[in-house]
């Protein structure tokens, strides 16, 4: 027998309160497809994560191709020959297909310039027909899935892990995937295939392992005699650890919530109604649209269709408008969207009642305490004290506090996403009871749960979702765990390829504009246009403007701005920011006035220069380390550094003093004809910088890190070092800019760099850098800096009020961010207004 490509032996993993895996052993042989199935929460994904080195098992051994992986690290696993195709995409959406594949290739194995040809070959080798220069963001989810697979195959793995690979595929895609898998197994690759879809598994797999509650239920060879029914029986039937409350006996036929033909991105044509006193369940494998439907009902997801609550039309524009009609949503992301972590339990519970707890307009402590205490008792929230921050409670008690808040809010229809996620067994029962009691008189409740047993236990009716549609409705005695799981496991429908609904004309236009700022040349063209207009205006209105001497002045003034803008770009590229560059420049100027003082020996000058550069390195390192390791927000970190540096500059030179050596200043101001040497240096720096950013692997990794750090990490980018390096480069750049600035002013002026922080950010942003990371170019930053310098030059040449210079720089900065990052916000506003108008029209007709 040949050696298994992947072997897990006796693997266990316990999370707080949950035994995720219990002594599970599986192996996968070369050329075999080994499927792993189980319900939601049966331990499949934990198993995958342990195999790929993302999660450390409590006990047990992982062997890849016969070698025990020494450390828990995805890169080790990948080096040993195991590749993983993740369910949530690990692709950088803003980069092209070829760039994503290239990042996963072995460094040095492909030339950067051959990337597209190489990527086309790789894709063709697996019969995937996607243009290599297409942006991932423009691909369909199915196409992205194939890119993921091809990317995972870059390292020629011996074992390939596929996590729900067909959830986004249509019938054609599933066939193509099957052919890729057969091709791989023919070459000896072992495949671990995790899926919810039994028909596919029976068609593809050689063996199948069933997991239930983290326990290995058995591994079976796939033969004709193995039926879907046998597998389902093995998967369900978890020991009942919770007692369920009695179901509703008589349900009022009068519907509270009526949803008609609701369609959105993740679901189509959903119609259902929910009656008074009824608990309606949403079931399905994760990611089949059930959660999105709930969110869409309160406007947290885009959708169109009609929603009525208690006979009234509901506006689904925002949670606020939905709530006004009686709809309230409880998120499954408790920490992110439900609790106010740092606030006390009491404060968390009483929000909807605040208006009634005042005496003479002020909140009464007495009333607050009394109400909170009553809620705490009614919902059985176990907390030592009402003033304990809610985040310190157990998951179950947090959820009870949230339920207390929700049920006292006066809403009619409660949409609860995963009511008992992370809740211990005891608390679960109380939660079920609370839901049942509180909707009895005039409410209704929709529960989305990945736990089929829970749905079977509490729901009066269950809707089963598959690929964005309701495929079954279970009522009364038909609501069993087996029927629910069977309902979505055996669904054979294929994902329908639907076109996204046509957006409104304005929205499309604005999207194009935002898309426009994504291409590097748009800001450059925009800036060139601005430069041309300003220059033309200055030429016609001033005789001095075009004189060589003025031009030289302009270019000399450009140097420090340009250098510091390029320095700033390094931090912006990785989604950071450095506000301290300006005061670093001041400090460098002051340092020069001491170290590179007039008449210093060449040795001292060299030492002084080195010291200035070291100051830049040190500042950058300090900023980077505080941001990265101290986990302090970059804005506040660099503000602190700004203050410290400015303080030192002022301590050194309270007033401008100390002449900087003339040889150094004239060297830095050397001109070749009209052109200062520094200008040539700056232009070369911008070109080299752009070559690095856009034409090397290292630059590509920086962009990827800025766009999507997690995806970059998965592609093997050293993200921590990339972040640190960006701050160090920004520091060094600012130090160099400071030396050029020192050459201009000639004396140790303590606050000369003050305005350069804003200028550097504005110039880089005008040149196309986005505050959201990943975008920007060095030539753009240079051009942005040129425009800034030009503006102040023109203002002084024309004899305009110097105040205009300051106003212009602020305005330009605002214009730049509104253009490049505000448009998205604008787009949202426009869509919001068009949607509410549409709804208003719909209601009127």
């Amino acid at each position: 027998m040949s050696m298994p490509v992947l072997k897990l032996e006796g693997v266990s993993k316990t999370y707080p309160g949950v035994r995720a895996l219990d002594q599970v052993s599986i192996d996968c042989l070369p050329g075999e497809v080994h499927a792993i199935i189980g319900e939601n929460g049966s331990g499949k994904s934990t198993l995958m994560k342990i195999a790929s080195g993302v999660v450390r098992p409590d006990s047990g051994v992982v062997e890849i191709a016969g070698q025990r992986s020494a450390s828990v690290d995805p890169r080790t696993a990948s080096a040993l020959g195991l590749s993983t195709v993740y369910q949530d995409d690990s692709l950088v959406l803003e980069l092209t297909v070829a760039q994503n594949l290239f990042m996963a290739s072995r460094p040095g194995s492909v030339r950067f310039d051959d990337m597209n040809v190489w990527a086309a070959e790789r894709l063709a080798a697996y019969g995937v027909n996607i243009a290599p220069d297409a942006l991932i963001a423009d691909l369909s989810p199915a196409q992205r899935q194939f890119v993921e697979i091809v990317k995972a195959l870059q390292s020629e793995p011996k074992a390939l892990l596929l996590d729900e690979p067909t959830s986004t595929l249509d019938a054609d895609g599933v066939r193509k995937l099957a052919s890729i898998i057969r091709d791989l197994t023919a070459r000896g690759t072992g495949i671990i295939y995790v899926s919810h879809r039994l028909p596919e598994i029976l068609a593809l797999a050689d063996r199948v392992t069933v997991l239930r509650d983290g326990m290995h239920q058995g591994t079976f060879a796939v033969t004709k005699s193995l039926s879907e029914h046998d597998l389902i029986t093995l998967m369900v039937g978890r020991d009942i650890d919770v007692e369920y409350a009695a179901k509703a006996t008589i349900i009022d036929e009068h519907p509270v919530l009526v949803v008609k033909k609701l369609s959105g991105k993740a679901f189509q044509d959903i119609s259902f109604s929910s009656r008074r006193g009824e608990i309606l369940g949403f079931a399905g494998a994760e990611g089949n649209g059930q959660r999105e439907v709930l969110r869409a009902l309160v406007g947290l997801e885009e959708a169109h269709g009609t929603v009525e609550c208690a006979g009234q039309q509901v506006s689904t524009a925002s949670p606020r408008s939905a709530f006004e009609s009686g709809l309230l949503f409880l998120s499954s992301d408790r920490k992110g969207e439900a609790i106010f972590p740092e606030l006390s339990v009491g404060k968390n519970m009483i929000f909807p009642l605040l208006g009634k707890l005042t005496t003479l307009g002020l909140l009464s402590r007495k009333k607050e305490q009394a109400t909170a205490a009553a809620m705490k008792r009614d919902f059985g929230v176990a907390a030592a004290d009402l003033s304990v921050p809610v985040i310190q409670l157990s998951g179950g008690n947090q959820q009870k506090a949230v339920l207390a808040r929700s049920f006292r809010s006066g809403a009619k229809a409660f949409l609860i996403d995963e009511p008992t996620q992370g809740v211990d067994a005891g608390a679960r029962f109380e939660i079920y009871k609370a839901i049942r009691e509180n909707i009895q008189s005039d409410g209704t409740c929709i529960v989305n749960s990945s736990d089929a047993q829970e749905l079977a236990g509490i729901c009066d009716r269950v809707l089963v979702f598959s690929r964005g549609r309701i495929v079954h409705e279970l009522v009364g005695d038909a609501i069993t765990e087996e029927n629910i799981v069977g309902g979505f496991l055996t669904a054979r429908d294929d994902r329908q390829t639907t076109n996204a609904d046509a957006a409104t004309a304005t929205a499309t236009f604005l999207q194009q504009l935002t898309g426009g700022s994504a291409s590097w040349w748009v800001p450059l063209l925009f800036l060139l246009g601005l430069v041309a207009i300003v220059a033309a205006y200055a030429t016609t209105n001033s005789s001095v403007f075009l004189k060589p001497i003025n031009f030289r002045h302009l270019l000399l003034a450009l140097t420090p701005v340009a250098i510091v803008a390029m320095a700033q770009l390094h931090t912006l590229l990785i989604k950071g920011i450095d506000v301290s560059v300006g005061s670093l420049m001041s400090t460098v100027v002051v340092a020069m006035s001491f170290l590179v003082v007039s008449g210093a020996s060449p040795l001292m000058i060299a030492g002084g220069t080195a010291a200035c550069l070291l100051l830049g390195v040190g500042t950058g390192l300090a900023n980077g380390a505080l941001v990265r390791f101290g986990r302090i927000n970059p804005v506040i970190t660099t503000i602190a550094t700004l203050s410290i540096l400015q303080g030192f500059a002022l301590v050194g030179r309270p007033t401008p003093a100390g002449i900087i050596d003339g040889r150094v200043t004239s060297l830095l101001r050397t001109c070749i004809g009209v052109l200062p040497a520094a200008t040539i240096f700056v232009v070369i720096a911008a070109l080299v910088g752009d070559y690095w950013l856009h034409h090397t692997r290292s630059g590509l990794l920086v962009k990827a890190t800025g766009f999507r750090e997690e995806a970059a990490r998965r592609s093997g980018a050293p993200v921590t070092w990339i972040h640190l390096r960006a701050y160090i480069l920004a520091g060094v750049g600012a130090a160099i800019a400071g030396m050029f600035l020192g050459a201009q002013v000639g004396v140790g002026h303590p606050s000369v760099g003050q305005n350069y922080a804003l200028a550097s950010i504005a110039a880089a942003v005008l040149g196309g850098a986005a505050l959201t990371g990943g975008r920007g170019s060095f030539s753009g930053a240079l051009l942005g800096a040129f425009f800034f310098t030009l503006m102040s030059n023109v203002i002084s040449v024309l004899g305009l009020n110097s105040a205009f210079g300051v106003i212009a720089s602020g305005t330009m900065t605002l214009v730049a961010i509104v253009l490049y990052s505000g448009v998205a916000g604008f787009d949202r506003l426009v869509r919001f207004f068009t949607r509410s108008r549409r709804e208003a029209e719909g209601a009127a007709s």
Binding site: P319, R320, F323, E324, G336, E337, F340, E342, L343, F351, P352, L353, L354, K356, T358, G361, L362, Q369, A370, T371, A374, D385, L386, V388, R405, R408, S409, G410, I577, V579, L626, G630, R631, I632, N633, I636, T637, A640, T641, L642, S643, I644, G647, F648, L650, V651, P654, L758, N801, A803, G805, I807, G810, T811, L814, I817, S821, G822, G825, L829
Partner: protein, 348 residues
């Protein structure tokens, strides 16, 4: 408020809540002491720091605690406290405001320009000055909360524009331009033996504290700062509260600018310059969390006193004023580092 209560119809309708509620109060009142020790360490820290500083000063530098010194220095603590409360409100809404100096200089310029140093126009000039500040705050708020632009860059850029406008406007006003005499008198006057600015700062601190702890809007503001997503999900007007923070803060800067102008009588163009960094330092030292929502106005005021007293002590020891900046920077850095250590459950 009436509109809100309408949307939450069935309320304390639980039958037994009142009788047993009172019983609950008795039991919940007792552990309040432990609560102070548990929750408010981040706010207590600055009190301890101030106490330590005063103790050291009392032993080694008694003249820094002399009545005359305190009377001369305390107005500066008052100006700082008012601006710091503004900045703290912005930080509680998860933002940052770097346009403070610009707004203060603008307010002073408008005060001088509108009043022309004449008592007759005092009230309209003060009104216009504060209104101008509020308008700048509204611009900041709309750009940041509604267009979702980066707070740092917006406030820096708006600050630059406001500075430019101020420079331009001041050129039309005479260079030698004092504030109206009665404002100067007011700003240098005493109220029950304490400087008026200190009394007003105290009042502002109490009002801001009262707003945050005792009003419905204040409570919702706290929620929006702590978790804007959750606040959105339960139907709060998140954007309005966020924008409101900038408007309120700017009003504070305007008030502080008026008091400062009255105190120094002859405000120059860069009258606001010292208020770029120090309000942030005071807010951070006062325990306001950069992650939003958490803040205590009294502690912020105490932090302002601490910073001014520290500065004064160092000055008396003979260190140049510039060290103040270094100390503020270090204070911001350490304060932030410690508060990050204390709160491990921050999302990012």
């Amino acid at each position: 408020m009436t509109e809100r209560s309408k949307s939450y119809p069935n309320l304390v309708s639980e039958p037994q809540s009142t009788p047993s509620g009172t019983q609950e109060i008795l039991t919940t009142l007792k552990p309040r002491f432990s609560r102070v020790a548990k929750v408010e360490i981040r706010f207590l820290a600055i009190w301890i720091a101030l106490g330590t500083l005063v103790l050291i000063d009392a032993v080694f530098l008694p003249r820094s605690l002399q009545r005359s010194t305190l009377l001369a220095v305390s107005p500066f603590a008052a100006f700082l406290a008012i601006t710091a409360i503004g900045q703290a409100i912005v930080i509680m809404a998860r933002g940052i405001d770097l346009s403070v100096p610009a707004i203060m200089s603008l307010s002073c310029a408008i005060l001088i320009g509108f009043s022309a140093g004449n008592d007759a126009y005092l009230f309209s000039a003060v009104g216009a000055a504060i209104l101008a500040a509020v308008l700048v705050g509204a611009v900041n708020g709309v750009l940041i909360a509604f267009l979702r632009l980066n707070a740092l860059i917006v406030t820096l850029a708006v600050g630059a524009i406001v500075t430019g406008v101020t420079i331009w406007y001041r050129q039309s006003v005479g260079a030698e331009s004092p504030v109206p005499p009665s404002l100067a008198e007011f700003g240098n006057g005493r109220l029950l033996g304490i400087p008026t600015s200190v009394a007003i700062a105290f009042l502002v601190t109490c009002l801001a504290g009262l707003f945050l702890t005792k009003t419905v809007a204040g409570r919702r503001f706290e929620a929006v700062g702590t978790n804007p997503e959750a606040a959105h999900v339960i139907g709060m007007r998140v954007r309005i509260y966020q924008a409101g923070a900038y408007v309120t803060a700017s009003m504070m800067y305007g008030i502080a600018a008026m008091l400062l102008a009255g105190f120094i009588r002859n405000p120059t163009l860069d009258v606001g310059a010292p208020y770029f960094m120090s309000p942030i330092a005071a807010a951070v030292l006062g325990g306001v969390a950069m992650s939003g929502g958490v803040g205590n106005m009294l502690s912020v005021a105490v932090a302002s006193i601490f910073l001014i007293q520290l500065d004064q002590s160092l000055k008396m020891v003979g260190l140049p004023t510039s060290w103040q900046l270094v100390i503020q920077g270090v204070a911001i850095g350490t304060g932030m580092y410690l508060s990050e250590l204390r709160s491990p459950h921050q999302g990012k």
